[in-house]
């Protein structure tokens, strides 16, 4: 770790301590985590895929943020800090989920009366007690991107939230998180009105995107002083305006080569939106190179991770979608569970790590698989200023276990969200010493 960064870090620590001393605010805990091995997910250099890995490191946490991170010999633990002894374990960023339906209302969130629903937002029906959210931390998932379903071409707006927090506001990382659209399949099941065919669906999507673009342009012109007349206010298009202003990305449920290409062509090329093609099974990777060479096109695979009889190549091979995208130049791959409720039939939220492990199995390298559930997802969502990697200034969302995130045989031992310990596995044996401002030391070991 560099000297100057260390100095800044120490400065922050001092500030935090003084803040805490003022009282008045609810005091957030401070910890020093002794780590056997930290996989930070922080790129070692621009355009490098390698990430910084620290052996025998220390992470200082306070105010819910990472205040310092580096080799143990480079960091002095300030007095008054609690201690988490993970010196024989791996310490990694909390897992970020790109595409799920948990934590809100309890179903797969489809309002399907009209084919376009730009007015709807998941943030209006967050249910923090949903069992999917409750279980998420047991698998190390700390941030989730909860979306409306894919029953309509524009099902609404998503929310990005933490899986623990004492209030709704505390949990929400950003609302709206992204605009959710659907290119194919699920909306076709409705029938009876425009949008039964894919031509019809493409038109529905264009119809609303055109209106939204015009709306966003008009307001931008007004706010930048290029026009004098204030445009009319249309609340149903306000969230779409954020997408066109580049403030939130667009996630598009899409399948197969033609579908992924249509998503790329329409959302990214025509409407210049930061676009994530999500699912993409059935041969979507066949156009992976088109995604790969567009910086603002992201690929998110899952819950299906392989193509075989429904696919692009029909060659008797079991094609892992992850490695197929990677070999075609996609470097921002993320993986999802598409979790709904809590069940073993599909991928429940806490098994996002297992989705990544299975992608690794099918040919993706281990590190890229881990990035696909941390930093890559954070970048696709545009919340990488806060989550996805262990870096100074980012949220202290941390997973501690005896192996990598992908290792199936070892369970998650401890999870911190926003610097608070939110999950401790019984029998994990991680020693925690809580230090309070009155010299009392509380030591606990679960």
């Amino acid at each position: 770790m560099k000297r100057i960064e260390l100095t800044i870090a120490m400065g922050l620590v001092a500030l935090a301590m003084s803040q805490a001393a003022w009282g008045g605010q609810r005091a957030l805990p401070t910890y020093a985590i002794q780590a056997g091995k930290i996989v930070t997910m922080r790129s070692v250099a621009k355009d490098s895929e390698a990430v910084e890995v620290i052996n025998h490191g220390i992470i200082l946490i306070g105010e819910g943020k990472i205040q310092a991170i580096g080799a143990a010999r480079d960091i002095d633990v300030p007095a008054g800090y609690g201690l988490i002894d993970a010196s024989d374990r791996w310490v990694m960023p909390g897992i970020v989920e790109a595409h799920t339906h948990i934590g809100a209302e309890g179903g797969d969130l489809n309002d399907m009366v009209t084919p376009l629903n730009p007015e709807l937002s998941v943030s209006d029906c967050i249910d923090p007690e949903d069992i999917g959210v409750e279980k998420a931390v047991t698998g190390g998932v700390t941030t989730v991107h909860t979306m409306p379903g894919s029953g309509t071409n524009l099902s609404g707006f998503t929310v990005i939230m933490k899986t623990r927090g004492s209030s709704r506001e505390e949990r929400i990382v950003r609302a709206p998180g992204a605009m959710k659209m659907t290119q194919a399949y699920n909306p076709e099941r409705r029938g009876g009105d425009l949008g039964l065919t894919r031509m019809g669906m493409s038109w529905m999507m264009r119809y609303i995107l055109e209106q939204a673009r015009e709306y966003a342009d008009a307001w931008r012109a007004y706010e930048e002083g290029r026009t004098a007349e204030k445009p009319p206010y249309q609340p149903e298009l306000e969230n779409m305006r954020k997408a066109f202003d580049g403030k939130i990305p667009t996630f598009v449920h899409t399948y197969e080569g033609w579908g992924v290409m249509q998503t790329i062509r329409m959302l990214h090329d025509e409407y210049q939106l930061k676009t994530t093609a999500t699912h993409t099974a059935g041969g979507g990777y066949a156009v992976g190179h088109e995604a790969g060479r567009r910086e603002n096109v992201y690929v998110n695979i899952g819950p299906r991770l392989l193509d075989f009889s429904w696919g692009a190549e029909y060659d008797g091979r079991i094609h892992g979608m992850g490695p197929e995208y990677y070999s075609r130049g996609v470097r921002n791959l993320s993986i999802n569970t598409d979790a709904v409720g809590w069940s073993h039939w599909i991928a429940p939220q806490e098994e996002l790590f297992f989705q990544a492990a299975m992608s690794a199995r099918l040919g993706l390298d281990d590190l890229t698989a881990m990035k696909a559930i941390t930093i890559n997802t954070a970048r696709a969502l545009g919340v990488d200023d806060r989550v996805g990697s262990l870096e100074v200034g980012k949220d202290a969302d941390i997973v501690i276990k005896k192996g990598t995130l992908l290792d199936v045989t070892c369970p998650v031992d401890m999870v911190l969200i926003d610097g608070r310990i939110v999950y401790r596995r019984e029998g994990a044996g991680v020693v925690v010493r809580e230090k309070t401002s009155t010299a009392d030391q509380k030591e606990s070991q679960s």
């Binding site: 075989f308 009889s309 029909y314 060659d315 008797g316």
Partner: protein, 399 residues
């Protein structure tokens, strides 16, 4: 003259005269038999036709170039390059044409009603011949497609009855039928119910020579090998299960009507030396886009293949030559293809003593074509069944 000399002359001369007359008469008779007179009314012999052609593909014995087929009545009398054409023969000059045996479809269901849905059944006494209705356009269409013999089979799962061999011409059932109850048809899919059904049926006929029971008599014929037994098995597994069941029934004549998947046991089929009926189509290997030419695969493995149109409908009968041509295009040897359209199906149906190739003594069932039967540009000019021209193509190229 003395008296002695006079008595010898008077005795010898009449004897010699009589002898001479007798010899003359005998010779005249012989001559008459050697050259039957067509116009001599009742008891007249059958008409003779001689077809001269550039190219006579007998299928069984190679190709005769610039040859003649001599036909008397319904049968082929002779084929060769220096065949003496009788004076009274009607000559068909097909000099620039090809002669090929009429096509034989081993398995057809045209003109029959559809399958009765339901569980596997066993009614070997049911006969397709009872349903045969001659005046259907499908038969005319099948004829025009080149088929002179068709094996009609019953549908449905299990032992569904007995098929018939027909010619697609005739205005009465009797005229159409070549063999009235010729094939025992078993459509088999491995399950304990189906296996039990077949096992019981075979056991009811084992060791018997005859039965009063109309449901058992056909089974006896099948077990004794008097009629062929067609075993329709879609999957290789079905074939393996069924072959296990018929083990020991050595007189039986099993003809496997094989789904394409049977390519997986090509070597086992070759061992058995019985003909295998296959659809004339190219299939995809499971889960891939690799194309399989199963007729070629089995033929290469040494299996005697007979091809049937790719599906049940009349359209695939009309498309049959193109289907065979495609198989050849993708590897099937033309020789194997020609046999698969004619002689092998005839063998499968048990009528190769009559049809399936151009040979002396067989029915004069033949196609007069303006080119190779496997060439898609070739037109069938005339079709002959049992010595009669039953079809002339009105759109043929000018001669």
């Amino acid at each position: 003259m003395t008296d002695t000399r006079r008595s010898i002359v008077s005795r010898v001369f009449p004897a010699v005269a009589f002898a001479l007359a007798g010899v003359c008469l005998i010779r005249a008779e012989a001559r008459a038999y050697a050259r039957p007179d067509v116009s001599s009314g009742a008891g007249a012999a059958e008409p003779i036709i001689a077809i001269k052609a550039d190219h006579i593909d007998t299928v069984a014995n190679g190709v005769v170039e610039n040859g003649v087929i001599l036909i008397r009545g319904t049968k082929i009398m002779e084929i060769g390059t220096d065949v003496e054409i009788p004076r009274t023969a009607r000559v068909i000059d097909a000099s620039d044409k090809t002669i090929f045996p009429g096509l034989v479809s081993p398995v057809s269901v045209i003109g029959l009603s559809g399958p009765q849905r339901g569980n596997a059944v066993s009614h070997p006494n049911y006969r397709v011949a009872d349903e045969l209705y001659p005046h259907q356009h499908e038969y005319a269409r099948a004829l025009q497609a080149g088929f002179t013999t068709l094996g009609l089979v019953p549908r449905g799962q299990g032992i569904t009855g007995r098929g018939a061999v027909i010619k697609p011409v005739g205005s009465s059932r009797k005229e159409m039928l070549v063999v009235e109850t010729g094939i025992l048809w078993i459509d088999f899919r491995a399950s304990d119910k189906m296996k039990g059904l077949v096992k019981r049926a075979l056991e009811s006929a084992k060791g018997k020579k005859a039965s009063e029971d109309p449901a058992v008599a056909p089974l006896i014929e099948a077990v004794q090998g008097e009629i062929p037994t067609f075993l329709s098995c879609a999957r290789a597994a079905d074939t393996v299960h069924l072959f296990e069941l018929i083990k020991g029934y050595d007189k039986m004549k099993p003809v496997l009507v094989a789904g394409y998947e049977n390519y997986r046991i090509a070597d086992r089929l070759a061992e058995r030396k019985h003909p295998v009926v296959l659809a004339a189509s190219i299939e995809f290997e499971e889960f891939t886009r690799n194309r399989l030419n199963v007729p070629d695969m089995l033929s290469e493995a040494g299996v005697k293949i007979a091809c049937m149109p790719a599906s049940a409908g009349i359209e695939d009968h009309e498309d049959f030559r193109r289907q065979m041509a495609e198989l050849v295009k993708y590897g099937l040897s033309p020789k194997a293809a020609r046999k698969a359209m004619t002689l092998h199906p005839a063998e499968a149906l048990g009528v190769d003593y009559r049809v399936g190739s151009l040979e002396k003594g067989k029915d004069a069932n033949l196609l007069i074509l303006d080119g190779d039967v496997l060439d898609m540009m070739t037109v069938i000019h005339k079709i002959m069944i049992e010595g009669k021209i039953v079809y002339e193509n009105p759109w043929g190229k000018t001669q």
